[in-house]
Amino acid sequence: MADYPSALSEILADFAFVTSRSERAELLIDWADRFKSVPEEIASPPYPEDHRVPFCESEAFVWACPRSDGTLQFYFAVENPQGLSAMALAAILDATLSGAPVEQVATVSPDIVLQLFGHDISMGKGQGLMGMVSMVQAAARAHLREKA
């Protein structure tokens, strides 16, 4: 496994042991239940288009805000109330990448979507979810460039 933030590595390891579709769904629903939308002090609807995840049919948005310790705090919004998968991923990304070393966040591949959701998600769904990871990764890389 790549040198990912430890919290993310642990979750990916947990999902690697999932053997049934229903177990995977239950785990992801637990994560979706923990989803918190972007606070109003950061953004409120209508959200700016430059934070929209391209091609995400759940209408997800991503923000990355610098923290005082030099890391990034990630926020998400999911406007489609049926976008449970997007909410689950947002909760996982926030829990594992906010406050993590930015150098490691910048290496996180969109492939983690397949590790978390399995290979039987549709192209449309997968594309949107991978787009969320890509935006987080891009924000981390941009942050590193600014610091350089």
């Binding site: 579709r21 229903s22 769904a25 239950e26 992801l28 629903i29 979706a32 091609f55 049919e57 109330p81 049926q82 976008g83 449970l84 998968s85 689950a88 969109p110 492939d111 979507v113 397949l114 959701f117 399995g118 039987d120 998600i121 549709s122 192209m123 449309g124 769904k125 997968g126 594309q127 991978m130």
Partner: protein, 287 residues
């Protein structure tokens, strides 16, 4: 049913309302089936008594790119506790995109006693109707299905090529960006992608979701549908039409609209769709 008659549909009997479903939750002659794109939705909560049909797991052959066999369909129906007399009511997310896909596959095996819940999951949720996480269990049945009919509502690539050569109408229901070839696929999903972008020559572009009222997921009335497919795109009810998208799922929605809501007699879904056509050697492509 009156509601759908007033909308002017050719076959209003293939739709049921959320009210109707709510009144038939305990009807043993009805089986409610949820089919979604988002794999988490059914587990997170579904209409009480509803079973799930998953498009990847339940409807496809596990090895070949094809649908399940007659034996597979019989086993599925047995698992769902369904007999040929059972009325099936499909609903799902994405404005019934996957519900109509499951409905279409079921029609390959001739289960005519099938309906779509207008508005799908979105309307049910908007009306704050009950959802449960309890998964129902029904006694298995013995279901005898006919051989899969691949001729009436399904089209294969050779037939599509002949269709193109004779100038018959095709409807590409993908997004304008896919139709134009600007968007191909994402790198990690080559199985759903294509080597070439564009569309099948002669196809008109009518994104599937245009048939839907986005605020509640219901189908537009027949007059509005005719304005899109006939006045705008020049289709006629007696046309021989082939619809396609990327893998045949979105186009099953348009197939349903043309076949049942507008009453077109000859509509086939090309499930090979762009993932086949865009990878074929030496077939014509237009941009």
């Amino acid at each position: 049913m009156d509601e759908f008659t007033h909308r002017g549909y050719a076959h209003p009997e293939v739709l049921v309302s959320t009210d109707w479903v709510a009144a038939h939750l305990n009807d043993p002659g009805i089986r409610i089936i949820e089919s979604n794109e988002d794999p988490l939705l059914y587990t997170s909560g579904h209409i009480p008594g509803a079973v799930e049909v998953d498009w990847t797991k339940d409807l496809n052959d596990p090895l070949r790119r094809d649908y399940l066999s007659r034996e597979g369909f019989e086993a599925l129906m047995s698992r769902l506790g369904v007999t040929p007399e059972t009325t099936l009511v499909f609903y799902g997310d994405k404005n019934n995109w996957w519900a109509t896909y499951a409905f279409w596959v079921f029609q390959l095996f001739g289960h005519r006693n099938a309906k779509i819940m207008d508005g799908g999951r979105l309307k049910w949720e908007l009306e704050k109707r009950p959802l449960t996480r309890e998964k129902p269990s029904y006694p298995p049945t013995t279901y005898q299905a006919p051989e899969r009919d691949d001729a009436t509502i399904r089209a294969f690539r050779e037939q599509v090529l002949a269709h193109v050569q004779t100038g018959k109408p095709l409807v590409d229901v993908r997004s304008p960006a896919e139709y134009s070839g600007e968007r191909l696929h994402m790198p990690d999903y080559p199985n759903e992608g294509a080597l070439r972008g564009g569309h099948i020559p002669g196809a008109v572009n009518v994104p599937w979701s245009r048939a839907i009222n986005p605020e509640d997921g219901t189908f537009k009335p027949a007059e509005a549908l005719r304005a899109i497919y006939e006045q705008e795109q020049g289709l006629r009810p007696d046309d021989d039409v082939i619809v396609y998208c990327r893998i045949g799922e979105r186009s099953s929605h348009t197939w349903f609209v043309l076949r049942y809501l507008l009453g077109y007699q000859r509509v086939r879904n090309y499930d090979g769709s762009w993932t086949e056509w865009g990878n074929l050697v030496n077939v014509p492509i237009e941009r």
